[in-house]
Point group: D2
Chain length 254, copies 4
Amino acid sequence: VDRAQRIDLNSDVGESFGRWTLGDDAGVLASVSSANVACGFHAGDPVTIQRTIELAKAQGVAVGAHPSYPDLAGFGRRSMRISGAEIEAAVMYQIAAVAGFARALGVRLAHVKPHGALYNDAAANRPLADAIASAVRRSGVEKLVGLSASSLVDAAKHAGLRAVREAFCDRAYEPDGTLRDRSLPGAVITDPEAAAEQAVSIALRGRAVAYGGDEIGVNADTLCIHGDTPDAARIAAAVRSALQAAGVAVASPP
Amino acid sequence: VDRAQRIDLNSDVGESFGRWTLGDDAGVLASVSSANVACGFHAGDPVTIQRTIELAKAQGVAVGAHPSYPDLAGFGRRSMRISGAEIEAAVMYQIAAVAGFARALGVRLAHVKPHGALYNDAAANRPLADAIASAVRRSGVEKLVGLSASSLVDAAKHAGLRAVREAFCDRAYEPDGTLRDRSLPGAVITDPEAAAEQAVSIALRGRAVAYGGDEIGVNADTLCIHGDTPDAARIAAAVRSALQAAGVAVASPP
Amino acid sequence: VDRAQRIDLNSDVGESFGRWTLGDDAGVLASVSSANVACGFHAGDPVTIQRTIELAKAQGVAVGAHPSYPDLAGFGRRSMRISGAEIEAAVMYQIAAVAGFARALGVRLAHVKPHGALYNDAAANRPLADAIASAVRRSGVEKLVGLSASSLVDAAKHAGLRAVREAFCDRAYEPDGTLRDRSLPGAVITDPEAAAEQAVSIALRGRAVAYGGDEIGVNADTLCIHGDTPDAARIAAAVRSALQAAGVAVASPP
Amino acid sequence: VDRAQRIDLNSDVGESFGRWTLGDDAGVLASVSSANVACGFHAGDPVTIQRTIELAKAQGVAVGAHPSYPDLAGFGRRSMRISGAEIEAAVMYQIAAVAGFARALGVRLAHVKPHGALYNDAAANRPLADAIASAVRRSGVEKLVGLSASSLVDAAKHAGLRAVREAFCDRAYEPDGTLRDRSLPGAVITDPEAAAEQAVSIALRGRAVAYGGDEIGVNADTLCIHGDTPDAARIAAAVRSALQAAGVAVASPP
């Protein structure tokens, strides 16, 4: 049975900070359909935010905000125990900051995708997910991207948002459907062809081959391309080509 | 000759940060007509920003953004040599962050007033003032508050903004019209009655008695009440009463 | 049976930051025997650190470092999941910074006491406690203060440090010996006399009356006075007087 | 006439921060004799500081502290108007933090060299230079590196420190002896051979060919290799080789 005639490809961009640069944003933006722009709390100073949205706009890529725990030194990858009221306000602040540049550049903020530890924590912690969903709703943004089949997707629906279910083409799944831990062998898929194959399988059939060989169900509206690997642009291009060759349109969520 | 039938009273608020509190915001907001909300760069975390706008809304006080150099440790009182492109983006970021909370709370962002060293530098440095004015214009805010007869007021007009000329009722002027340096005796007016008298004189006659006794011209659309002094609420109330007793309405700029 | 002829009183000081002030350091330092100086990660800018050590030296109070998770906005009260290598380096950095001022002022850094969430986490998380103990040992400081009967005390001993066991005179204990949660009624003891009574009981008899009325054992080398309450100086003075009246000398650990 | 039988080569290292990396420290440390380690205010988190000192120690390179204005977002390249008391304390804090890691690794902190805008400002601003020199002296470090023939060198001597006069082999000089502004053509020397030639000329004869062709006097105890250019390691190696071939020993200042 055909699943999707279209799927979104998204990538985290704008993750430079001041003197430090990270990732090949221009290269990745040439292939993806949605860009998650760092908001200044884990990466992304104001000049970088502006330049990144300009780049995305020029490529016709949908612009979203990529809010994080306040943790520049840890790149937002360290869990923090923050109250719901604090994280809701912190997420609103970050969304608003990026939305302001988008508006000034004539672009509508299409979505929000939490970053790093905030994304991971919200996948399993429903009160945290609810605080994020409330921030997105109060900010007037319609779509919230979360790990497929996670608390964040549930919270998004419950808040009346459009939940965008995310899957990964460059990460291996375990037989139980969770992502294979990064510290284990085989967790990261670095071969562009293998990533493209997994992308097509998820997009067309809603299925992926888990670590060990079993096939599992993976429902996704968007596929993530990690932008900070050296090969990100090449992987993005390979995934996009393979999807299009398989008859799947690459486009931001409707 | 009558000058103003109305004048604005403004104060800097929301200048707490995390565990640290500063100023009697509720007390001051009871008397002023415009609130300049710290944006997170010199003070003001997201929770504080939200709470401060709620307070201002409840009191019917106009809400503005109060952007700063990025300098928490120095409370934005240290000049920084930042390029025009950087300061323009930094000011846009801060305006947008506060505007997001205002929008979510059903309040329109009425104005922008730069803080501390940024305010002082922009009074004399026209390219810096132009960068700030550009940020305000691109952010879709109409009014920019600057020191009366300064480069910032000129830049605001040149950018097509409504320039709001600011004067001070709790600071002494020098005979040449500049503010008396804070390090000199008599620079700060702490007596509520004296502050009220200067406010009425500026509002009704466009004149103030400078340090030494000479009278000078001071044109103002808004008068500043410094919010971080212990007596701020009492001074604000005294100034408002005196203005109203003299037939001057206290209201945010039209 | 007599327990202690002497006990230490300690308090967290130097928790101002830039424009923001917190606590009555001079008042508290008049009564305690050990000062835990904030190192810049949750509070305490360089000028404040220097001034605080000068104050402590003038009062003859032992100076220690009070390192924290890197979290100014949360005042170090939010748990962060940080790797052992990172927290060890972060603690060494903070100890060294305070030790430098101490050395320049002719004072030896006597001890280290972790702050807030780092202190609480290290009481129950042995690998975290080991990382902190390693940082203290490598920094050349002899004493590490931790919650009595906690992982941090165990880690200190294991690292060859002098473990200083801490108890609280202004917090209620549960019958199982843990501290009563701050969110529950009766958790904080605000009456100076009650705090003094608990201090004497712990110092002289190694026992305290837990919430509910049962007596429990509490072994302590030092008692904490929370410095950021309005009454801190008064509580510190009452506790010191009561201890001395009971024949207990107040002095930093030998 | 022979000038120097020896000269120091120094480079700024440890300028990564968290997720972001910068410069080829290992490559540069293979050729220089002194390393200026970023202290956390413009770059350099605690883990990076520790790792950088380990690298320098392994290569037998002298370790110094490289303090900056507090400005991560601007990489310490933006002038800030900070009081003497504040900058003295900020520099002491940074020196102490790096010195702590050095001591734990069995290395003596050999020198201090201010970074970026702080270095440039201190070259012309004597009170600022005096505040830095006081911080170095009070920190117990003997050597202070400053631009040759600048206020910082004068302040170092006046404070009883050993002044280390710095010159540049990868920057062009103007006929008046100042460094050619980076915004002008020909300001930066990127050809390793040209840099090596200037290094030998300064080391052996105390002279350099200024922009335009005139020869000027340049007295130096140390030559800077900018570590954040792509070719830094290659330039460092070429300069070292040329110096040794000319009979000049490359060694940290005695």
